[in-house]
């Protein structure tokens, strides 16, 4: 009923190709943006910022990056964590070499370094596919972590071998380091994430998006209709790694505050991959649904039993969390490979014609 599209006529191709051909979608997004930009940050506590809002934004961005490569262009990657690390270390080197550099610029530039590394490790993708490519990206994962540990120049020869985020401010407001408030960090991340998400939505619904999807669905046919596969795949690696690198820089600079090489371990790669799979490969919305689920699940498991009077040890909560996520991944891989985003798409399709069955 609320989703009725009767009376919304498209009189030009431009209108038909608009971001929201259905008006209600635009309204829905407007409400979500209102929450994201005003209501949530103004009402959230420190705990909510640090355990829910900020991680959701960062993980959703990292998953968006991975989704371009795996969901749109069909190239499986297990190196996401390491590429996030490249972004973080690049950002660290930039702000220590140029202390006056605006953090926005530093964060956005740090993605270019991970993009270059991503393209280098993406080169084998023309020859190898599927699981074999995943193994090749796994090599990137282990090699880069090793590099973060052994190349002391990267962490400015610290005795601890870790990078520590200095106090940094943007336009007079502290955003990184111990002095920064959660709200300032949240808005910083939100601006970057909103910007990149808009650009990615445009990229994936236009010609480049079709080129990637064609590469994913049938590479031989794609090449015979005029797609340069190497260019298409390397473009996917570049854009994907760029976004993942930006997410990695913000992961350390605006959330964790410090990082050791093992923070970017394969576990992080898997977490981002799970978000993309559970949320939905080949969808932008899915990254958000997946990130919300993965980030919120342990928080809910920690707080809800206490509220209803159940006493569960935190170690048990951790076990339950891992079990639920594992079960969800198996469930989605078997029942709905396109994840939560497809579930929403099916519900929306039904709502559009409700109360009629067809």
């Amino acid at each position: 009923m609320l989703y009725r599209i009767a009376g919304q006529f498209k009189t030009s191709y431009q209108k038909d190709q608009a971001l929201f051909p259905v008006q209600q979608d635009a309204w829905l997004l407007g409400i979500i943006l209102l929450f994201a930009w005003l209501i949530l940050p103004l009402t959230a506590s420190e705990f909510v910022f640090q355990t829910l809002l900020i991680p959701v934004l960062i993980y959703a961005l990292a998953a968006t990056g991975l989704n371009i490569l795996t969901g749109y262009a069909g190239q499986l990657s297990l190196g996401t964590g390491a590429f996030m690390g490249v972004g973080a270390y690049a950002c660290y080197k930039m702000v220590t070499i140029f202390p006056d550099l605006n953090l926005f610029i530093a964060v956005l530039l740090s993605g270019t370094f991970s993009a270059m590394v991503g393209v280098a490790f993406g080169l084998p993708s023309l020859r190898i596919k599927g699981f074999y490519l995943a193994i090749a990206t796994l090599a990137a994962q282990f090699f880069l972590i090793w590099l973060f540990e052994k190349w002391a120049w990267l962490y400015n020869y610290n005795a601890s071998g870790a990078i520590q985020v200095p106090n940094l401010d943007v336009f007079g407001i502290a955003v990184a380091g111990p002095l920064a408030t959660s709200m300032a960090q949240y808005y910083f991340i939100l601006i970057v994430v909103t910007l990149i998400t808009v650009l990615v939505i445009n990229l994936t619904r236009g010609n480049q998006g079709r080129i990637w999807k064609a590469t994913r669905d049938m590479d031989i046919a794609a090449e015979l209709i005029g797609i340069n596969l190497l260019k298409s795949k390397l473009m996917a690696f570049a854009v994907s790694s760029y976004i993942v690198g930006v997410a990695g820089a913000m992961f350390v600079f605006l959330w964790r505050g410090a990082a050791e090489p093992n923070l970017f371990d394969i576990e992080l790669s898997f977490r981002v991959l799970f978000i993309a799979i559970i949320g939905g490969l080949g969808s932008i919305l899915g990254n958000w649904l997946g990130a919300i689920l993965i980030v919120a699940l342990p928080v809910i498991l920690n707080t809800v039993p206490g509220v209803v009077g159940l006493e569960i040890k935190s170690a048990t909560v951790e076990h339950i969390n891992v079990m639920i996520i594992g079960a969800l991944i198996i469930f989605f891989l078997i029942v709905e490979p396109h994840g939560l985003a497809r579930l929403w798409a099916l519900i929306r399709e039904k709502l559009l014609i409700w109360p009629f069955p067809h």
Binding site: Q14, Q17, R210, K213, L224
Partner: protein, 272 residues
């Protein structure tokens, strides 16, 4: 010897057949020890419907793959528009204006019909990635301009009602039509059809035949097709190449080919 003359001529039904647009010269293609195509030469003239027929395993599809650049012949030359074609990647051949359909449908299952047909236009789109990400300027203009072209093809092939349906949900016959739409959207100079009627019922075959004739008639597109249904081939094509065991055993107008003893032997079978 009418077909060998370089001048253009007008067919009985009033279509103009132009000069030679593509000339295959002494093509030999080997896979290891197997010779798929043995020393074959034939030409394709502008605006004609050229059929390649032959029994199973004769090398017809290999021939089509040679034309579209998927296979590179060991011996032989391909002359396109008066120039010898250097060794090329398939995507470069596609950008020269050669589009094709596939024996086993090769659509992009995860995309809608509209998006699939839009991929046919990508050789005509070159807005930068930045412009596309901003959805501004050239990218947006291109998107609309090419949508108009695509909608014409969608109208032409009568698939308006399914344009926003994911391709995976369509029945076989419609998928074949969407594949033709994708190839047509590229505005090809030469359209290669690999068994466009395989697995279709009589009605679907009639539809497809009508579309092929209309494409040739309205847009003047040169068509090279492989087909097993002899009735269809003889009715549609202007000239026919007959292949058997990788060799050319006949070439000419449908009636000449039908009465060629080597062709009859190949189809009815004689001891080799």
């Amino acid at each position: 010897m009418n077909d060998m003359s370089p001048e253009s001529y007008v067919t009985a039904d009033g279509r103009t057949i132009g000069n030679v647009v593509m000339d295959m010269r002494d093509i030999t293609l080997k896979f290891g020890g197997v010779t798929a195509i043995k020393d074959i030469s034939f030409d394709i003239r502008e605006g004609e419907i050229r059929a390649i027929i032959g029994p199973n395993g004769a090398g017809k599809s290999s021939m089509l793959n040679v034309i579209s650049g998927f296979y590179t012949p060991q011996i032989g030359e391909i002359w396109y528009r008066g120039k010898k074609r250097p060794p090329m990647k398939p995507y470069q051949v596609a950008r020269q204006g050669i589009a094709r359909t596939f024996q086993n449908i090769a659509l992009f299952e995860g995309m809608t019909v509209l998006d699939n047909v839009m991929t046919g236009r990508l050789t005509h789109m070159n807005a930068s990635v930045i412009s596309q990400a901003l959805w501004w300027g050239k990218a947006q203009a291109e998107e609309i301009e090419n949508r108009e072209k695509v909608e014409k093809v969608i109208d032409f092939l009568e698939i308006q009602n399914i344009r926003k349906t994911p391709v995976g949900r369509l029945p076989y016959g419609l998928k074949k039509r969407v594949e033709l739409a994708r190839a047509l959207a590229a505005d090809p100079q030469i359209l290669l059809l690999d068994e466009p009627m395989a697995g279709m019922n009589v009605e679907e075959k009639e539809d497809m035949s009508r579309f092929i004739l209309d494409v040739n008639d309205e847009f003047g597109t040169t068509i090279v097709l492989i087909e097993h249904d002899m009735g269809v081939v003889m009715d549609l094509s202007d000239r026919v190449v007959v292949m058997d065991y990788g060799k050319k055993i006949g070439d000419g107008a449908p009636d000449d080919v039908r009465n060629n003893q080597a062709v009859i032997d190949a189809y009815l079978g004689v001891s080799h």
